[in-house]
Each structure stands twice: as structure tokens, then as C-alpha cells.
Symmetry: C2
Subunit: 283 residues, 2 copies
């Protein structure tokens, strides 16, 4: 497994490999869990060689967010990627990505505006900028993102399409712990008690799905049902709800009646940890 | 000479050619003159095959600017490029570049802020966005820009560096008519009388250079000397001066005393035509 910190050598590796094989990229912020490894396995299905980037991107964190405490277990990450048969890991230092004088950003597409875009201003600007840079350094055929960051997958797909980036964006399913909690590097912040309360998110989404499958089509009813399970501020609920919505799954805009292209999304806080989860509603 | 309107086939051509040869890109808005052809010739020195893009980019024009009347002599342009031995011309329709729903833009680097950035808000956002898209469609080794659009060359270089775009930016000298007027597609808007008055720009820059070579180092003195030659509003002068400055040639920021890294830049209007020109001051 090749390890590089330099965009030029990452690119050289990719170009050399691409001449013989199909290459897939899995961009990560490290602190890898089974969710990330499932992206790597999906990437291996789609390509002959897999490159993984590990970079905790400062520009997608707001000043009050958890950049400083974000976990960085690089040795464990590299061991896990080695076990998965990853061919190349690109793990640049922040100074290589944002050197002095750096000042060009990607202004993200419209789909970045609602939900996370409202709650985390500047977040998707940082995401688009780092992803575009990764796409230049590692010009793979396909890049695999997790459905867990649902809005991010739409934003990155729209950016790649708008900017003629010749990389196919593949979105792979969310991986959950046996109790239903969507895997996230941030789950390790949770105490046992907080983790229990965090299960409200997946329970709410499953309940929404059950209602939808029973032909409930009012977004307001579905949202209320989820809110009632999240119980913000209650002892057995989350501490705060950022949003709980049922929206068009392409535009993320509100819809009165759900249809076959709908997604339910939740963002909530438990203690100082922010959790997101989602479920596509399909007839 | 290959001609394509589609970014995918432009890319396929470039990748295929790059496997055997070095490819250079010359981005243009068409209405080609000897200045453009000199960029093509420089590109041929730097590479084995030259691709030229022709696209009048609507996003770099403000609503009141000359997008509608901008000349589009596509047949003449293609004939000229064929004579120069260009291998591929990429000439997409606006709908292919900005389809419905297009909404991702490049937020340009800091060097885009002064001068043209002040006078033409949004201009460099449009320039950076189209240039990045061209760089994705035509991943050449090198791209050649004209020094005539001096700030643009700095903006594009900074963008390519910031976003890890693996294309070398080459800046080729301004080509002038025998009377000194810097070649521009917009010169064809000028009446004979206006063209005479337009010569103030190159005269002012030459006078600035003469003073600089005679050891004048005060930016204010050099700027005043140029202003006195531009004579805005006078019968033999330009109609309006947008700016006339002597600044640091990397940052475009004001400097009190000129040094070896200085550039003089002028933007002025003659009739309804906006003209720009510049000269690097070197010891």
C-alpha cells in the first residue's frame, strides 16, 4: 500500500494506475469505521484499485465546531485500509492543502443551500473545495461517498456535473450498528447514556418509513411522527433538533405530499455531539 | 483539425493525444486576431499538439456589458486555426456549458479583488468557472494566456495552484498593432477617430516605462504622468479612465515606491468600448 502526503505523487500514482486499471477514490476524514470500510468494498467492486484520502478538512468546520477534537487515529486507519487491500492512501498535511495565500473556493450548487447549508454556513463551501482538490490530485474513474451524508452526496454530484469533472459519483448505503445507530466517527464522543438517546434518530426514520409504507403521504404528518420520537429536551430524547424533514430527494425542497422521490432527513444534537441520519422513502 | 462541441469528446481527444504527445490549450472567446495566433504559436513551442477553445462565456459579462454584440466570426476563426496547424477546436454551445440547474461557481482568489474585480463585479467568478471547466474538459499539460489580460493571468494561475489543477499556466506577451495599440477583439468596435484616441493607452504605458528606466520610482509620479497622457474627457484623450495604476505585479496591491516586481495597468473607455493594457516595469 502506497502512502503519500503530496498531491503530485498522488496524481502520478493515479495516472500510472489508470493506464492499466480502473481506479476508485474513497475520500474520508479518517477515524475509519465499518461504514468507511463498506465504501472501500463498494469501490473495489467498481474498480481494480482503490485510493483512499484521509484529511480532516478545516474549511468545512465552523469556528465553534469540533475540528480540534475530531479523532485522528492514523495508525489504526492505515492498518484497516491495508487489511482491505487499498492500493494508495493520500494523507496530506493541512499546510499542503491550504498553504499561505490560499484563497480560491468553490461556491457550492443550489442544493447546498437548505438543511446543513442553513445550520452550518460555509460547510459545503469547504466540502466542495476539498473534494474538487482531491479530484484533481486523484483523477479516478469513480468516487464513492456514503449515503449517511445525504446532502453532501447531492452537493458533490451537482458540483462534479456543473464543473465537468470527469469522475462518476457513487453513493453507497449507510451502515448501522446492530442497534440501528448510523455509523459515524462522531459516535465515539457519546457516553452510554447519550448513545441510548441517539437511537431516537434511526427509530424516528424507521417509524416514518413504516407510516409511508402504510400509505401515509402527508409530509407534515410524517415529520410530526418523527418529531414525537426524537422528543427534544426530554430525558429519553435528543437534546436539540436542528431539522426533521421529509423533502424532495433531488432538490431537498419541501413538498406537501410525499411521492416516489422523497427522503426523510434528521439532524439532532445529543450532548455536544451532532448527529445526522436519513432514509429514502420509495414506493 | 478536429472540431467538437461536447466536453466528453474534447476530453477523450485530449487523453488520447496526451498518451503520445504533450498537449497545450489556448482558451479564447473567438474573434481571433494576431494576438490569439501568437498564443497558438507559443503553445506549439511548448507542446506537440494544440487545442483551442472558442466560447464567449456569458457568466463573465455583466448585464450592461457587450455580450450580445461581442463578435462571433466562427468560420474565419476556424480557418485561421486550421492555418496555424491547431489539432482540436472545442466550441461548445452555451447550453452545454450552463445547462438548466447549473449553479456551482468558483469563488476567485484574492488577486481578483482589486482593479477589474472592483469595476466588473462577478467578472472573475465567471472567468474562473469557465476556465476550470475548460481545464476539466481539456486536461492539457500547459495552457497559454495573454499578458494583455494581466490580472486574468494572475487570477487563473492562483486558481490553478489553489485547486491543485495539474496544468502549467504560461503567459505570453501582448501583441500590438504597428501604432502601439494592444490587439483586442474589441478594437473592431472603434471608429477611426476613436482608434486614434485609443493610442493614449500604449503611449501612457511607454512614457511610464521611460520614466521608470530613468530611475523615477514614485508610483504617484508615474501614475500622474500616465493620467496626463490619457487626458480623460479631452478631445484627444480617452472618454473615461477606470484605473491607471502602478502596483505590485504579483498582488496588484498599491505600492508607494516601484521596485523590480511592478506593473503599470490601465483600463479606459473610448466611446462605448472598454480597453485595457499593461506593462511590466523591470529594472
Amino acid at each position: 500500500m502506497q502512502l503519500t502526503a503530496d498531491p503530485r505523487s498522488a496524481r502520478q500514482w493515479t495516472i500510472k494506475s489508470s493506464s492499466r486499471h480502473r481506479v476508485a477514490l474513497v475520500p474520508t476524514m479518517g477515524a475509519l469505521h465499518e461504514g468507511h470500510l463498506s465504501l472501500v468494498r463498494r469501490a473495489k467492486e467498481l474498480a481494480d484499485e482503490v485510493a483512499v484520502s484521509i484529511f480532516v478538512n478545516p474549511t468545512q468546520f465552523a469556528p465553534q465546531e469540533d475540528l480540534a477534537r475530531y479523532p485522528r487515529p492514523i495508525e489504526d486507519d492505515l492498518a484497516a485500509l491495508h487489511r482491505e487491500g487499498v492500493s494508495m492512501v493520500y494523507s496530506p498535511p493541512a499546510e499542503a492543502i491550504y498553504p499561505p495565500g490560499f484563497s480560491t473556493y468553490i461556491n457550492p450548487p443550489t442544493v447546498a443551500e437548505p438543511l446543513e447549508g442553513m445550520i452550518r454556513p460555509g460547510h459545503f463551501r469547504g466540502v466542495c473545495t476539498i473534494v474538487l482538490k482531491l479530484f484533481q490530485a486523484i483523477p479516478a474513474s469513480v468516487a464513492v461517498f456514503g449515503q449517511k451524508d445525504y446532502q453532501q452526496s447531492l452537493v458533490v454530484s451537482a458540483m462534479a456535473r456543473d464543473l465537468d469533472v470527469p469522475i462518476t459519483i457513487e453513493v453507497a448505503p449507510t451502515i448501522r450498528d446492530p442497534d440501528g445507530l448510523a455509523m459515524s466517527s462522531r459516535n465515539r464522543y457519546l457516553s452510554d447514556e447519550q448513545r441510548n438517546r441517539s437511537l431516537c434518530l434511526s427509530r424516528a426514520l424507521h417509524s416514518c418509513k413504516t407510516l409511508f409504507d402504510a400509505k401515509e403521504r402527508s409530509s407534515a404528518v410524517l415529520e410530526s411522527a418523527m418529531f414525537a420520537i426524537l422528543r427534544p429536551g426530554e430525558p429519553d430524547g435528543v437534546d436539540e433538533v436542528d431539522y426533521v424533514v421529509v423533502v424532495d430527494r433531488h432538490t431537498l425542497l419541501p413538498i406537501a405530499q410525499t411521492h416516489s422521490d422523497t427522503v426523510a432527513l434528521i439532524a439532532a444534537r445529543v450532548g455536544s455531539t451532532r448527529l445526522i441520519d436519513n432514509m429514502i422513502l420509495r414506493t
